[in-house]
């Protein structure tokens, strides 16, 4: 009877999922497949849509991208900027999480702090990129005013020095995202059963012991989520460097997404090479995500699963 009921309603499952599936097939899956295919053709030129598959050297686009010096620059920039921004981002997010969720010293005004820390995250990235470009202006800009006030004899050309450009972009990324990471981590801590903390307190655990040995292991799933989203976002970085870097230092802040866009749309219209670069980035991101998931997996749970498997095997062998 119950079973029959399920069957009679199952068609609504299909009906309700159809809009999603159709939109997904047209706007996500088809473009993915199409991008892969274009990577094996010689599609270039504005407005050209005719595909000709490469015949003698099918991986030509991929080889071109992988041997291009500007792609190497783009990829090292992207990774460098991501690492330089992410380590302090996670560090400070964890520090503030520890402070704001500490049960013993309740920090007053937390609400205001949280709201202010999160503020940069909601502002249009393009706006922030241009704003920082103006703030670091040379020879006249607020930052140069400040360093001269503190004794620097000459203004410093921040926006044309390669390492400063990368450093500033990394700082902007940090500044925009530590609040987001913090709020996510706090949410994870709030979700932990308070009895665990009470038990830790009763056992005489210190503040730092509680945080490192109880809190962090408990918020592991959220850490994985934060790491993965940050990894994907970081390797897709576009807005800030696109509007921040000035024309005087072309490649200092070139990221892979900017490389892809430049190949496809900025003058040369080499769609096939841009598509190949997209596919390469896709593979890199996929590998990094899988590695991350592997290293962040719940080791105890994995061990347990292994033991269970062995037991099952042993039982099967006995039969």
């Amino acid at each position: 009877m119950n079973n029959k009921k399920l069957v009679s309603y199952s068609k609504y499952g299909y009906i309700f999922a159809i809009p999603f599936v159709i939109a997904f097939l047209i706007f996500t899956l088809y473009p993915i497949v199409y991008t892969f295919i274009i990577g094996f053709t010689d599609l270039k030129g504005a407005g050209n849509t005719e595909l000709h598959f490469l015949t003698n050297d099918i991986f030509k686009n991929f080889v071109d991208v992988l041997t291009a010096k500007s792609f190497h620059t783009a990829i090292t920039n992207t990774v460098r900027i991501w690492i330089v921004n992410f380590i302090p981002q996670l560090g400070f997010a964890l520090l503030f999480t520890a402070w704001f969720t500490d049960r013993r010293t309740k920090l007053k005004g937390q609400g205001i702090f949280k709201i202010l820390f999160y503020l940069p995250n909601i502002i249009t990235a393009a706006t922030i990129g241009i704003l920082f470009n103006a703030l670091f202006g040379y020879p006249k800009g607020p930052i140069n005013d400040i360093i001269q006030f503190f004794g620097a004899s000459e203004p410093y050309p921040f926006i044309t020095k390669q390492s400063w450009v990368r450093g500033i972009i990394a700082f902007i990324q940090f500044w925009m995202w530590y609040g987001y990471t913090m709020v996510n981590l706090i949410a994870g801590v709030i979700g932990i059963n308070p009895e665990i903390f009470e038990a830790a307190e009763l056992d005489g655990a210190s503040k730092s012991q509680t945080f490192f040995l109880v809190t962090i292991p408990c918020i592991r799933p959220i850490m994985v989520y934060v790491l993965i989203t940050s990894l994907i976002g970081g390797l897709n970085m576009f807005d800030i460097p696109q509007v921040f870097i000035s024309t005087d230092c072309n490649n200092a802040g070139l990221t892979t997404n900017m490389y892809i866009r430049n190949q496809a749309f900025a003058g040369s219209y080499i769609y096939c090479r841009a598509a190949a670069a997209s596919v390469i980035m896709f593979i890199i991101i996929l590998i990094l995500c899988l590695l991350l998931l592997y290293f962040m997996r719940d080791k105890d749970e994995a061990k347990l699963a292994k033991i269970r498997r062995q037991e099952r095997k042993a039982a099967a062998a006995r039969v």
Binding site: A23, T28, I123, A126, K140, A187, L235, C289
Partner: protein, 286 residues
């Protein structure tokens, strides 16, 4: 004795915590403060001192800075209008259909459900920009570049949001409510619209904010798809401020940036509580 020492230590600790927090709060505000103040100063004032308090004639300068725009083809109102249309429509679509899809997975037993579920989990990891070249070619082929709808309709399929909604439904929807609605003779569609959707309000509210902010701030896709001046979104209009034509008009650059930031800050002041708590809701579900 020991107790007072411990107390002292914790006071020192607390002072350090406050100093760091106040410093970071200042860091969050300072760039915007400089921006708003410089919007009310003339370019020559800014060139003398890039940091200062409000100018002596803020309104005169404001008008002067604004006047520059009329000669430079800067149209924030066009950007606002287009961004508003895209963000509003795509947010509504993405919320409704994500909730509907999540409900179809949660409430019904159907054969391909597992496939869809797996697909959603797998695709969640694929960043949208990877598909950009194929997407552009497809849109170009059917002659739909410069159509705002191409930035709106794809929002129907948002795997990340379906995942969030599904997680939320797992915790909050009991199927007995659905059952009793059926007994009362409500159609499946009506049950979803009038019973399930209201139940999902907290999840929808927070996801709405994220979807809206994400769409509003997106530069990558619109920059590629929308080349027509009358179709540009706000981030594209903002990015024009960087161009050489403004090289020496510092006051106007700051004013242009302020115009694009001000509405966001006003909305944030009203919604900040929900946003900060809302991330929390999204976060626990992640």
């Amino acid at each position: 004795m020991n107790e007072t020492k411990l107390h002292k230590e914790s006071v020192v600790f607390k002072v350090i915590e406050y100093i760091v927090c106040v410093f970071f709060s200042f860091l969050s505000i300072a760039p915007f403060l400089v921006m708003f103040i410089n919007a009310t100063r003339s370019t020559s004032e800014i060139q003398q001192h890039a940091i200062s308090l409000i100018s002596e004639h803020p309104f005169i300068n404001l008008a002067k800075n604004w006047k520059v725009f009329t000669t430079k083809d800067f149209h924030p109102e066009v950007g606002f209008k287009n961004s508003f249309i895209i963000s509003t429509c795509s947010t509504l679509l993405t919320l409704y259909f994500s909730a509907l899809t999540a409900y179809s997975i949660k409430a019904y037993e159907w054969k391909l459900k597992k496939v869809l579920n797996g697909l959603i989990m797998g695709i969640m990891m694929v960043p949208g920009t990877i598909t950009m070249i194929g997407f552009y070619q497809m849109v170009y082929k059917v002659g739909m570049t410069n159509k705002l709808s191409m930035l709106i309709i794809p929002a129907i399929a948002n795997p990340m949001m379906v995942y969030f909604m599904k997680q939320y439904l797992e915790g909050s929807l009991s199927l007995s409510i659905v059952e009793s609605a059926r007994i009362d003779g409500a159609s499946e569609f009506r049950t979803f619209n009038q019973i399930v959707l209201p139940l999902m309000k907290p999840a929808i509210a927070t996801q709405a904010i994220f979807a809206y902010v994400g769409s509003w701030n997106n530069l990558f896709m619109p920059l590629i798809l929308l080349t027509d001046k009358s179709k540009q979104t706000l981030p594209i209009v903002v990015s024009l401020l960087r161009g050489d034509i403004y090289r020496t008009e510092f006051g106007s650059i700051y004013l242009g940036l302020s115009i694009t930031v001000l509405p966001l800050i006003v909305v944030y002041i009203f919604l900040s509580k929900y946003i900060v708590e809302g991330v929390a809701l999204g976060g626990t579900k992640g």
